[in-house]
């Protein structure tokens, strides 16, 4: 693989929240909340630089500021699908050759909820059901045993 080829990848990240899904969904779609956690660690997301137009085709833009050197990184996404408080999908064309992120919010019925974040920059052509199933499970397994091999 050459340096100019964006690395393709795909991941699924699941999390259980001790909070109702309406609140978690609101946190993920409101600048007043996002600014408190969008981060990640060492990176701030100033509220005045967050743009959210919560409708399909609407803008989802954040500017992440590195706490150490003030370097800014603008992430410009477009909402693809919005089903409050169940599902949120956006895509970022400018990131690593095109990134799509989807988050589903499931009510666990006891005041808790579960989110499944799925992120991929693998183009549609590589994502037949078979190829996808193969990639996701194999990459996750590879990550585990590569660590062993290289360790």
């Amino acid at each position: 693989m050459t340096d100019t080829t964006p690395t393709l990848g795909e991941l699924t990240y699941t999390r259980t929240w001790d909070a109702p899904r309406e609140l978690v969904f609101e946190c993920m779609t409101t600048p007043e909340h996002l600014t408190h956690f969008w981060g990640p660690v060492g990176v701030s997301t100033p509220i005045e630089k967050i743009t959210i137009d919560l409708r399909p085709g609407g803008i989802f833009e954040t500017v992440m500021v590195n706490d150490a050197d003030g370097a800014e990184f603008t992430s410009r996404g477009v909402y693809v699908e919005i089903v409050p408080p169940e599902k949120l999908v956006w895509s970022e064309e400018g990131v690593e050759g095109g990134m799509t992120t989807s988050i589903t919010f499931t009510d666990l019925g006891d005041g808790r909820c579960e989110t499944v974040a799925h992120q991929t920059n693998v183009p549609e052509m590589y994502r037949s059901a078979d190829a996808q199933a193969g990639m996701v499970s194999s990459f996750d397994k590879m990550a585990a045993y590569l660590a062993t091999v290289q360790g």
């Binding site: 990848g9 929240w17 909070a19 600014t35 969008w38 997301t45 990459f139 397994k141 590569l146």
Partner: protein
């Protein structure tokens, strides 16, 4: 039908469960076609076909010098993909750790958990008095 770009070949090679199992076996040490055909209960021919796909994808190398040409797992084509997963997973981990803290604060403050109006009205100028930091500490 036959793809030739490296990424397609890597993904194509990994999409098959038998080939993943072969790679898994090879990750614990090199093996010959004969040695691989036993645990996988396959003909030498079938194993060879899978190995050819893996070899074209650069996921295994085969020693030319040795008589039985043992196969060795080559992790290199997978490293960028694994790095990608590790890096992006870390972002979500850190982001959600911070959201967890934020939610704890919200719920302790007894904030109205469901306020669809404020969500719908998110584009109006904010009067949030809090400083724009993403690291709200529990008081």
């Amino acid at each position: 039908m036959q793809t030739t770009d490296p990424l397609s070949m890597t993904f194509g090679a990994l999409a098959d469960p038998t080939r993943r199992a072969i790679l898994s076996r090879l990750s614990s040490g090199e093996a010959t076609v004969n040695e691989l055909s036993v645990p996988f209960d396959m003909s030498l021919q079938a194993v060879s076909r899978h190995l050819k796909v893996l070899e074209r994808a650069g996921l295994i190398t085969r020693r030319r010098d040795a008589q039985f040409r043992p196969c060795r797992f080559a992790a290199e084509p997978l490293e960028p993909a694994v790095d990608w997963i590790v890096q992006h997973r870390r972002i979500w981990e850190e982001r959600f750790d911070q959201l967890e803290q934020h939610l704890a604060v919200l719920q302790r403050e007894g904030a109205d958990p469901i306020s669809p109006q404020s969500t719908a009205d998110h584009r109006s100028p904010t009067t949030d008095h809090r400083t724009p930091t993403n690291k709200e500490q529990p008081s």
